[in-house]
Amino acid sequence: MDITTELEGNILIARLAGELDIETVQAFREKVVPETERPGVKTLILNLNKVSFIDSTGIGAILGRYRFLEKKGGKVLLVGLKAPVKKIIKMAGLLEIMPEYSSEEKALNEIGEGRIA
């Protein structure tokens, strides 16, 4: 799993590539979790465009960030879900609590226009 993160003001963008499972969730914990814990960070845009596989461990990691940010009044936005990944995320009920966008730009626009914040 390759992970890069970028801070845009109070918005954290995390881009994941590869398979998110019990092996690679470790990288998520090391690279994404501490960034969401920075003071001020409320919104996480999770770009899963290059994620080809996810299972319940990956779902657990995303949900963990959602719960953490929700307490701070924040949100998690999902970007670029491939069909197999989307199926799992949907079945787990995540799409009911996290909006989904086709690109980072669209997600950023929504936040900018204050619909989500």
Partner: protein, 146 residues
């Protein structure tokens, strides 16, 4: 005679990918769609992950993965000699987990993605998950004929 392959491996996180890939490769002999192969990958991933987290929480153990093709059916059996399950009925409930930070989604995914599955376990002895799946295409064909 149908195809048969068996994997024994240590209960390490970095072996889950191997199990999943091997299962999808084995299954591809049958006429599964890419979508169905992805479902098989998820089911195997969940069963193997459960062995790592639940069956062998403290020390590494062996996970056995048996893969067979019988007729047009794929049969995958994941077995551990770990802690076992006290109340099998309880863990089969959706969203049930004995670990606080877990969500109880694993068995639910297996249930959704395989045609059927059986869970048998004896506390202190270990757990066996048997999973069955036939390609949808074939089921449709059979229905069309009958």
């Amino acid at each position: 005679m149908g195809n048969h392959a068996h994997i024994s491996m240590l209960s390490r996180s970095n072996n889950v990918g191997l199990a999943r890939l091997a299962a999808a490769s084995f299954a591809s002999e049958l006429d599964f769609t890419l979508n169905e192969l992805e479902e098989i990958k998820v089911a195997v991933s969940e069963a193997v992950t459960n062995c790592i987290i639940h069956a062998y929480p403290l020390e590494e153990g062996i996970i056995e993965i048996d893969m067979r093709i019988e007729g047009e059916e794929l049969i995958i059996v994941v077995e551990d000699k770990g802690v076992g399950i006290e109340d099998v009925e309880a863990v089969l409930q959706p969203n049930y987990s004995t670990k606080e930070e877990h969500m109880g989604l694993g068995l639910a995914f297996i249930d959704s993605f395989m045609d059927r599955f059986e869970l048998s376990s004896e506390p202190g002895k270990g757990t066996i998950v048997q999973m069955y799946k036939t390609p949808e295409k074939l089921k449709n064909r059979k229905e069309a004929i009958s």
